[in-house]
Every structure is written in structure tokens, then in C-alpha cells.
Amino acid sequence: MKRKVSSKIKYYLNVWLAVLRHSLSKAGTYRIEVLVRSLRGIFLVVIQVIFINAVMGNQDHFAGWTLDEMYLLAGIFNAVNYVSWSLFSINLWRLEEKVMKGEFDFLLLKPFSSIFGASFTEFFVDDAMSAISGLLLVGYYVIKHFAELTILNVGASLIMIICAFFIWFSFELIFASFDFIAIKNGTREIKKQIVGIGKFPVDIWEGNFKILFYTLLPIAFVGTVPAQALLGNLDWKYIVMGIAISVLFLFIAKVIWNQCLKRYTGAGG
């Protein structure tokens, strides 16, 4: 059983590495696009620095966060956002078109799971370049506050960032699943707005909203919680909660995907 699982992981890893090789050679052809995306990453940093400074005004703290901590939060969110975008979000975004044209059938014929086929069959190198904005902001914080970081906090933050990817992927998968029920359903726009909340500290919300963003719509785990983990401000129960929620969401997303997939007819063209 254990051997079967590890060989399956190895197989998917090999397939994805082949996808990566293909995508890298494609990116070599579109060099200007890669360059422009890198510039965009830098521009995003400028925008966010101005935005955060405008939010902070003359105050030392905003909703309990200092200026540097706000940079860190924005940086983590950007990194998760743009890496997700290049890894699987664009693939899932294009699912609608594939369903509309009846092209999804080809993916179902391939020797891997439908979720993998829909999510990871292309890696968008140029979009990954926009993640530079995240790396710059996180890098700024890490360099400035290097002495304050502990291995434990860095480890906890990395675990939470992995959970953030799981949650982000689950969201994408759930909303993409609806394409099998109705094309042009517009729910992606809602998803985009929901995950966008993650770039602000969840502490700006009060009462039920705050609870909502830690549970049913766990956006807190996309930016706020990984940042708090690195700052050492996080209770261990949130780390356990983050892991549990990401696994649970992934499971729910898979169930929804499989149920919706049953509705796929292959009609279209």
C-alpha cells in the first residue's frame, strides 16, 4: 500500500517535471512576456508600499500590525497568489473554455486523475515572475528583522504557507467544478473577490466576519496566519487548525469535483 502511494507520487512528480520542462522552453520563446511580468512584479511592490503607507498614515500600528509586518503580510499573500496562479489557477481558469468546446474529454483520456489533468498540465513561468513582488516584500522583512526570527517560527510559517496553497487550490477546484454544471456561471469572479480579502489583516473584521474567515471561508490562513506564525504571534492551536482545515477543504473540494464531473457530457464545440 505504502509502496503504491509512493510510486504514484513519483509518477505524478515525473509528469509535472515534464510539464515544467515544456513550460520553460515555451517561456524561452516569449522572453518579452517574462520580462514584462518581472517588471509588473516590481511595480506591484511600489503600489503596495504606497497603499500600505496610506493605510498606516501617521500611526505606528494598524489593527495591531506594524508597517513592516504589513509588508510581510502583503508579501506572503502575493507569493501565494502568483505562485498559485502560475501553478494551477490559470489551468483551472481555462477549464470553462475546455468544457464549452467539449475539449475536456481529451484530458479524461489521459493516464492521470482528472483533477491533475485540469490543474497542472501547464506551468505559467511568466506569471510566476509576478511573485517577485511577494519575495521582495518578504525579503525586506526577513533582512530587516533577521535577528528576531527563530527556526521554530520560520518552520511554522512554512507549514502555514503550504496550508495556504492547499486552501487556495481547494477554492479554485470547488469553483472550477461548477463549470461542469453550468458554463459561464461567473462564480470565479466571486472566488477572486473572496480570496482577495486575504491580503488584508483579518483583524480589521469584527464579530461573525472574523469567525467566518477562520472557518467556512478560511482566508485568514492565506495571509494573516502564515505572517503571524513568522512573527511568533501565533497560538499553536491555529497551526493545528490550519492543517486540519486545509486537509478538510481539499477533501471537500475533491468530493465536489467528483460529483460535478458526473454532470459533464462532453457536448460542445
Binding site: 518579452i32 511580468r37 494598524f62 511568466d126 459561464k184 462564480t187 477572486k192
Partner: protein
């Protein structure tokens, strides 16, 4: 003149918007989702900036922020334009060729689609905006004088025209550079940032306000809001209109000049 035959332009635009509406109305679920999505961002930003106001930062009140982002939801429906996306896709995929053989300028079709899109989103959103207004009535501070309302709509029309010309001028870049998606994202980021969609001009530092007021982006969103929320003195309103109109004229000239060069570059190969 950009529009040589206004009657024909209007006729094509009207027909296109009708076609667009009938096509879009087949996807009702999408329309419902738009309503939710359209209200989402202004709501989140209103909460964020109200928190800033509560903290005593920025030099504005929470009510001002609620008003501002409520008006962002309204004005963006009036002025937002997606011509850049529509036209860059057409040029990129070689679909622009059809316009070369049609007996009208392609802008009349793009204008029609833009109007249809605007009409649809506005009509659907209207009841929800009304409910939101009634709910936040005590916090929303807008001027209901006829003069301000009239100037507001004039500024919104000017804002839309600037946005439309900006988008279509930008789209011409796709004739020269086929890998336009990255540049397009950058362009959209610039518009979002400088129009005041995310940071109200009220909250910007003085040096940024000075720059933003000289650029065309403010007139696509923030300017009509500033009028209806009585943030501007009379002379500032006139000055704003003057700068806006100047930008519009400049964009029309820029479009015409650029189009003459761009069309010679078109190869219809698509990618």
C-alpha cells in the same frame, strides 16, 4: 474627426449592444454572480478604510470612506471599460481581419459592446445599490443638489470616454507586440491604482495627489465621486473638467496617429 458619420456610428453601436445583451442574457447565473462580485470589493475596501479612519489615521472619517466606496461601486459601473481586453484579444488571435472588410469603423462595434455591458451591469446592480444606500443612509453623504448631480453625470460621461479611448489606444500596442498579456495586466494595475479605485485620493500623500490630478486616470473614477461628495470647490471642478477634456482630445489624436502606424503592422497570423 474620429467619428466621420455619427448616425452610422450610433446605429452600429446600438445594434451591437442589442446583440451583446441578447447573448449575455442566456447566461443568467453569470449575471447573478457579477452582482455579488461587483459589490464585494467596494465593501471590503470600505471596511478597511473605515478601520483606518477609526484608528485616527488618514485625516478622514469612516463615513467619508463608506460614501467613497459606495460611490466607487456606482461610478465604476458607469465608467469602467474593457475595450483593452476585447480588442487585444481580437488582434492577438488574428480576428481583427474581419473589421478590415466591414463598411464601418470597428470602434462603433466596440463602443456598442461597451455600452451593452454597462447597461446590463448597471440595471442588475441598481436594486442592490438602492438597498445598500438605504441600509447605510446615515453614513452616505452625497450632495443631492441638481447642479452637483448634473455635474456628476457629465463627469461620469467624460470618465467613460477617457477610459474608452485609453483602452482602445492601449489595445493598439497589440499590433506591435504580440505578447501583450503581461503588459495588459500592468496597464490594468496602473489604471486601478491611479484612478482611486483602491486608494481614495483623499488618503494619498500630497506629492501623489499632485501627480494623479495631472494624469487622465483620476477622471475615470475619482473625479465624479469628488464632485458628488462635495470635496471640490467650484474652480477645482472647472479645472478638473478642463484637464479631463484636454486628455480626451489628446487621446483621440494619439489614437488616430498610432492607429495609422499600427494597422500597417497587422499580419493577421494570430498566436
Amino acid at each position: 474627426m474620429l467619428v466621420t458619420n455619427p448616425k452610422k456610428f450610433a446605429k452600429i453601436a446600438y445594434k451591437t449592444s442589442q446583440l451583446f445583451l441578447s447573448m449575455e442574457l442566456t447566461h443568467r447565473a453569470q449575471i447573478a454572480a457579477w452582482v455579488i462580485a461587483d459589490l464585494f470589493q467596494p465593501f471590503v475596501l470600505a471596511v478597511l478604510w473605515s478601520t483606518v479612519a477609526r484608528n485616527g489615521g488618514g485625516g478622514f472619517t469612516g463615513d467619508q470612506m463608506v460614501t467613497y466606496f459606495f460611490m466607487v461601486a456606482v461610478v465604476s459601473k458607469l465608467t469602467k471599460d474593457y475595450s483593452d481586453q476585447y480588442m487585444t484579444n481580437k488582434i492577438m488571435y488574428g480576428e481583427f481581419s474581419k473589421y478590415l472588410v466591414k463598411p464601418f469603423h470597428y470602434l462603433s462595434e466596440v463602443f456598442g459592446i461597451s455600452m451593452g455591458f454597462r447597461f446590463l451591469r448597471l440595471i442588475i446592480l441598481l436594486p442592490f445599490l438602492l438597498i445598500t444606500y438605504l441600509y447605510f443612509k446615515d453614513q452616505i453623504m452625497i450632495s443631492l443638489s441638481l447642479l452637483h448631480i448634473g455635474l456628476f453625470f457629465l463627469a461620469a460621461i467624460l470618465g467613460f470616454l477617457i477610459n474608452f479611448m485609453l483602452g482602445n489606444t492601449f489595445a493598439l500596442v497589440a499590433f506591435f507586440i504580440k505578447q501583450i498579456l503581461g503588459i495588459r495586466s500592468l496597464y490594468e494595475n496602473v489604471i486601478t491604482f491611479l484612478s482611486g479605485e483602491v486608494i481614495p485620493i483623499l488618503a494619498m500623500p500630497l506629492w501623489a495627489v499632485f501627480i494623479v490630478k495631472g494624469l487622465p486616470f483620476r477622471y475615470t473614477l475619482s473625479f465624479p465621486i469628488e464632485i458628488i461628495t462635495k470635496q471640490l470647490m467650484d474652480f477645482e471642478i472647472y479645472k478638473g473638467f478642463l484637464i479631463g477634456v484636454l486628455w480626451l482630445v489628446l487621446l483621440v489624436i494619439l489614437y488616430k496617429v498610432l492607429y495609422r502606424f499600427a494597422i500597417k503592422k497587422y499580419e493577421a497570423e494570430g498566436i
